[in-house]
């Protein structure tokens, strides 16, 4: 109970609410924007999205099925004036990102399950030190080295719960190469504003499939620029535990004295290892994301009003689900669709609302049942929740999802 009260009082301290939607944006630097229509795979689109968003530092270690993103970035880096480093492993890759971010760079890495597992320790450090970065996990079948060249969505929970301790990150899930581009730009903007690692949870199918990708002109791409503190030395605070985004970074080398540590710290960044301080820090880390879920969460909905069954899906599975939904509608079943573009924070409120109005929610995903647990938790027994799981290596047969919709409607 004490923790809840402390959290509430921290939230109440925020006198002026800084909104993501109201954050200052600038047009993208045309040097990084390869405008025009392309026939491109999702991995390449991830790299193009990063370059368009102003990312000029990439450190990574090649791993199937994400390697093409690193290749594209490396190929484009010289012409854009970006730096690409192939590191010795994934631990070093994300460590380099943390350093680059505090040196003022927008930065990115790409990997998949086995590499992401190695990044998890420093992902926690990045979250604790509120270091902006974008990590794309092009998921392949697991566990362990599993199925290097085949698709999966098995790292959904790991993205949030991988690091030890409480921490909140943002995760987005594109359903096409076009969205790999669009959501990478969005990921950088969210990452800059909330000063948090943003994870793009895509998969081998989307990463390796080619489709039309339209990259807009630079002046139509809005990016949130790095916000570096430039005020008087005595007022310099790399942190502000007010449960909000929008607090400036301090750039190493700009002459300010500050400290960056994974230990529980004060607003100058120096260690203060007490239970009281941890209330402030942890509450802030959690609430700046979860407390702003309404601003962060993006969903795509179709015919949910009046539906008796709603299919909740994400990534490549949402496209397979639409095929099943179309067939179910032909049979007269009133079925709606909710596609989660944002995975974390989870769309708790919307699931609670929907669960009060429908007979059942169907959750197809290429794992043994991960996001369905969040759906169940928020549905709270108000409707049936049906998991349509798949152990990875392929996408669902639409017929399997159709059968689940039929069952759900009875």
């Amino acid at each position: 109970m004490k923790t809840e009260r402390s959290g509430a009082s921290e939230k109440a301290k925020a006198s002026v609410r800084r909104r993501y939607a109201g954050a200052e944006t600038v047009a993208a630097d045309p040097k990084g924007v390869d405008s025009g229509p392309h026939f491109m795979d999702g991995d390449h689109a991830l790299a193009e999205g990063a370059l368009a968003a102003g990312c000029r530092f990439f450190a990574g270690y090649p791993i199937t099925p994400s390697t093409e993103a690193a290749e594209r970035f490396a190929e484009r880096a010289p012409e854009v004036g970006a730096l690409f480093i192939q590191m010795e492993d994934e631990l070093a890759s994300i460590a380099a990102l943390i350093g680059a971010a505090w040196a003022g760079q927008k930065c990115m890495t790409v990997t998949c399950g086995p590499g992401f597992s190695l990044m998890v320790e420093n992902l926690g450090l990045a979250a604790m030190t509120e270091t902006p970065m974008v990590i794309a996990n092009v998921q392949r079948g697991g566990p362990s080295t599993g199925l290097p060249t085949l698709t999966a969505q098995q790292d959904m929970m790991q993205a949030k719960y991988g690091p030890h301790g409480d921490n909140a990150i943002i995760a987005l899930s594109p359903d096409s190469p076009q969205e790999c581009f669009d959501l990478t730009v969005e990921a950088f903007n969210l990452s800059e504003f909330y000063r948090v690692p943003v994870i793009i949870l895509t998969d081998e199918t989307v990463g390796h499939m080619h489709e039309k990708v339209v990259i807009p002109p630079a002046d139509q791409i809005k990016v949130i620029p790095r916000n570096n503190y430039s005020g008087p030395k005595e007022d310099c605070r790399p942190y502000k535990f007010d449960c909000q985004g929008g607090h400036p970074m301090v750039r190493a080398g700009d002459g300010y004295n500050f400290h960056i540590t994974g230990l529980t710290h004060n607003e100058k960044g120096y260690p203060v290892m007490t239970a009281e301080q941890n209330v402030k820090v942890v509450t802030h880390l959690m609430e700046k994301i979860n407390g702003n879920a309404d601003e962060i969460v993006r969903l795509e909905e179709d015919q949910i009003d009046g539906a008796e069954v709603v299919v909740v899906s994400y990534g490549i599975t949402s496209r397979i689900a639409v095929k099943a939904i179309q067939d179910a509608r032909k049979e007269g079943i009133k079925v709606g669709s909710l596609r989660m573009i944002t995975i974390w924070p989870f769309c708790e409120k919307r699931i609670r609302e929907i669960s009060a109005k429908v007979k059942a929610i169907v959750v197809p995903e290429i794992n043994y049942g991960q996001m369905v647990l969040e759906v169940e938790r928020n549905a709270g027994g108000r409707c049936k929740v049906i998991s349509v799981n798949h152990c990875g290596g392929a996408v669902h047969d639409p017929q399997v999802i159709l059968d689940a919709i039929r069952k759900a409607s009875q």
């Binding site: 229509p37 392309h38 026939f39 081998e204 390796h208 489709e211 496209r319 095929k323």
Partner: protein, 189 residues
């Protein structure tokens, strides 16, 4: 909604993946269609059987993989052996005439044969085999326009070989038109 599923196959190094890339780019950028391309990502990338798939539609492609291919292009024996049986009755089978020994007459299929490798060698290099085959494919099917295919080439073949690749495409295209008795005069090029 009309959807077509196409498989390009051969051995690694023949430019099979490139065939699908060029066709997919032509369709989705210049022919106003939706095209989704997927490819085999195993250790078979070189020398062994290799395939790339295209789903083509007037509307957004939802399911990205092919399930009932209507057109198969097989530029090697192994590819032909592996894939021909998945074609439905009336399906289109395009084979490399001198590399593929047919296992029967395939009376249920629309069978078309092109000596793509020989024509490519006549143009100076068997690396152009895929473009001869693509020209042939464009002529004998109604999937994609020749105009769109040629527009799609820059960026997908090296600049200095663009002209000779177009020549290879034209060679296969004309051979295909002659074979099916279609007049070339009105076609965009």
């Amino acid at each position: 909604m009309s959807t077509q599923e196409i498989r390009f196959s051969g051995f690694g190094g023949q430019g099979i993946i490139r065939c699908a890339l060029i066709t997919g780019k032509a369709l989705s950028l210049y022919d106003d269609k939706f095209a989704t391309m997927t490819q085999a990502f195993g250790p078979e990338a070189r020398g062994s059987a290799c395939a790339a798939q295209l789903v083509v539609s007037d509307d957004r492609v939802l399911y990205p993989y092919i399930t009932h291919p209507g057109i198969l292009m097989a530029l090697s024996q192994e590819a032909y052996d592996k894939y021909y049986s998945e074609l439905p009755k009336g399906g289109t089978l395009i084979v490399e005439e001198e590399l593929v020994k047919l296992r029967g007459e395939h009376p249920d299929l629309r069978l078309l044969r092109v000596p793509a490798t020989r024509y490519a060698e006549e143009l100076g290099n068997r690396l152009f085999t895929n473009l001869v085959a693509l020209g042939f494919f464009t002529a004998v099917t109604d999937v994609v326009s020749a105009d769109a295919m040629k527009k799609a080439l820059p960026g997908l073949v090296p600049d200095r070989f663009l002209k000779i690749n177009i020549k290879a495409f034209d060679k296969g295209y004309e051979y295909g038109l002659n074979l099916i008795g279609k007049d070339n005069s009105g076609d965009a090029s």
